[in-house]
């Protein structure tokens, strides 16, 4: 299984190097469909879309990559490069506080590493408590209490650092915003490819999206894609 996957990745790299970006994208996305969730894979898919001129899709995949690896310099570079080509795209609203804290924590350690530390400390506290109960009643309560507290904090950090995002990105050329979830409704905004917003709610083919300039409108979900969950097209 592993050998097969590696050959797919190598094949995609070769195709990309040969300028066959569409084929490379297809292979990379097949990996994502099979469950590979390496941020480098998302980054590579973003590169393919950039080469293909689909800058909205490219932004979407770079955002996905940054979600799991917020300090990846190459991804940050490519996203900045993309932003200079998407000057008319509307930037998303600022992150919610909890999402921002999660990003900062994730920039320090991956969620599973936070979880590992928390698990070790909590397991230690549990062992001490069992000992105190059944073997060493004279054992002080202070040590298990300290371990429990630190472990709990680390567990919360691990939980908060799990990637979460309500960000959505325009992946078609343009997307009209309507006052109601109806194509015959009043058009109130036109967004270009690569514009981003926050998904407030979804309803039968329509997204109600909060934009960075404070406006909110209904958009056809065909023109947008969520950063999470990751769904290759």
């Amino acid at each position: 299984m592993g050998a097969t996957l590696i050959s797919v990745s190598d094949s995609a790299n070769s195709l990309y190097a040969d300028g066959q970006f569409e084929s490379a994208r297809t292979l990379f996305e097949s990996l994502a469909e099979k469950g590979t969730s390496d941020p480098a894979l998302y980054y590579n898919i973003g590169n393919c879309y950039t080469r293909l001129g689909q800058l909205g899709e490219a932004r979407l995949w770079f955002e996905r990559s940054l979600l799991f690896d917020p300090r990846n310099e190459e991804t940050l570079h490519n996203l900045e490069w993309l932003n200079t080509r998407l000057t008319d795209a509307l930037p998303p609203p600022n992150d919610a506080l909890l999402h921002w804290i999660g990003n900062q924590l994730r920039a320090i350690l991956a969620p599973e590493h936070w979880g590992l530390f928390a698990g070790v400390l909590l397991a230690g506290a549990f062992v001490l408590l069992v000992l105190r109960k059944f073997k060493r009643p004279a054992l002080s309560w202070r040590l298990p209490l300290t371990l429990s507290s630190i472990g709990l904090v680390l567990l919360l950090a691990a939980q908060m650092s799990i990637p979460q995002s309500d960000k959505v990105v325009v992946v078609s050329n343009n997307s009209y915003g309507y006052s109601a979830p109806d194509a015959n409704g009043k058009r109130i905004v036109l967004l270009s490819e690569g514009s981003a917003g926050r998904l407030v709610r979804a309803s039968e083919g329509w997204f109600y999206i909060a934009l960075g300039d404070g406006r909110q409108a209904w958009f056809s979900s065909d023109h947008w894609d969520r950063v999470l969950p990751i769904t290759p097209r």
């Binding site: 592993g2 996957l5 797919v8 990745s9 790299n13 990309y16 990379f28 990996l31 469950g35 590979t36 969730s37 390496d38 480098a40 894979l41 980054y43 590579n44 590169n47 950039t50 001129g53 799991f68 990846n72 190459e74 570079h77 490519n78 900045e80 490069w81 993309l82 200079t84 000057t87 008319d88 969620p111 599973e112 979880g115 928390a118 698990g119 909590l122 397991a123 506290a125 549990f126 408590l129 069992v130 105190r132 109960k133 009643p137 004279a138 309560w141 298990p144 429990s148 472990g151 709990l152 567990l155 691990a158 939980q159 799990i162 050329n173 343009n174 009209y176 009043k186 036109l190 270009s192």
Partner: protein, 548 residues
Amino acid sequence: MLLATGLVAQEVQLTARSSRTSVGLDEPFRVTFSSNARGGELSPPNFEHFIVVGGPYRSQQTQIINGSMSFSQELTYQLVAQEEGTFTIGPATFESKGKRFKSNTLTIQVKAGVKRKRATSKAKTVGFEVAILSSKKEVFVGEPVVLLFTATLFEQVRDLNMLQTPNFENVLQQQLDFEQQSRRERIGSKIATVLDFDKRLIIPNKPGTLGGQELKITGAVQKPTGRRDFFNMPLMRWEQEVATAKIPAVKIKPLPAPQPLGYSGAVGELKLVRELSRTSVNGNESITLKLRIEGSGNFNTISVPDLIPPQGFDLYDPKFNEKIRYSERGVRGYKEYEYLLVPQFKGQFILPQMQWTYFDVKKGDYETITLEETTLIVTGDTLNASAAEGNGTMPKVQREVTSIDNDIRFLQEVDENTRHEEQPLLWIWAILGLVLLGWLLQLVSFNTRKKSPEAARAAVKKAINTAWKTNDPEAVGKMLNALEEELVRKGIAKENISLFALNEVLGTALGTQVNTLIEKLQLALYAPSATGSNEEWLNEFNALWEQL
């Protein structure tokens, strides 16, 4: 003829008199001011409620009778009443050699009945008539109407003047370029001259009926005096007359409801046009976009809709062009915004679809014009080159392009075994649950000791035995504390522990044994080198603990 007594100041006499004291509406009458003084300045009053249709006529007269010379000067005005009622004409003033004199006032009664009386005999007596003819009897709000002002002259008429223009209410009014025309027509048994003397275009802006004040025209009509001259020709005189025209009954209909979303009030036969100078440009070129409303309609209130700008272009403030011509066919022309689009990036950009709604007076319904999306193509490499020059014409964000690499980074190595689990921290939460359970157990154990004294006593005994067998250095202290705590529970305070108190509470035998053990333990505690602990003490403690 009325002669009113004037104000007399020494030898100067100033009087005012009127040809009639009771007149009908639109019936001319004369007011004359006379003075017997030479020189000076005679000033008329303000003829409020009246219109001056003739004059002023000045006359002077000098008479010498029996060697006595007299002088008089007169100032005459011909007036027409504007409304019914009783009105006072104020005094005229005469200034001479720094002195000021005033005439008497005149009271004039104006009646409508006099006018009606005239109306019945109009055909015989009226020299001319005026009328306002409307091009339409019913229009929508915003739909133009042409009004033609005509005068029908039954007699010779001269000096036709417009006394009162019809101030139409709630309309936009525009006088049309028009050459006066006259023609001969038979009206009843008379041949009359019909004169078209004015033409106006009005655009109503409120529903209802066209309203405003009447049109009043004055003119001098030639009429026979009934006398003949030396050659037996009839003698004629000129009489001032006023003719009135009513506002034509034009019904102004409101626009149908409900009005479509985005309708801004345009009415007529209109077009919305979007013209592009080109749809494909190089980076150093620009596109001229004209957005224009043209046709016939209420251009006074129409505004050109805002352009939904295309992405990827800089849009400068538009230039406004307008050409509007008022004619009998309505208001025709165009209003136009001319935009300059300067490309910022290479690629294909969409000029978005636009919609604009107006009311079509021909169809009697709202029409929506849709301008479809247009693709604009920007090619060439000049955009980046001109940005690098930094000539200040490019937006700031584009200059930043030069500060980063001109290309994206290459691919990264993919670890294909990386998997993100759906619930990555589930096992840790499970551990947290175990920890909480551990703490709960500690809490339950504590509570159990508190609730069951026997269990607590057994636990203490067990702890002391364990400490004793493991040679815990604190074993003696723990045993002593346990005994003292137990005695406290029996009602003997620590400071009161003595043989007497123990015998009294526990009985002589048990009290003595406990006292002995306590003394041994205290000695061992404070002088450990003097006495060593042994198994007997533990046995004694266990035996006494059971009895206590």
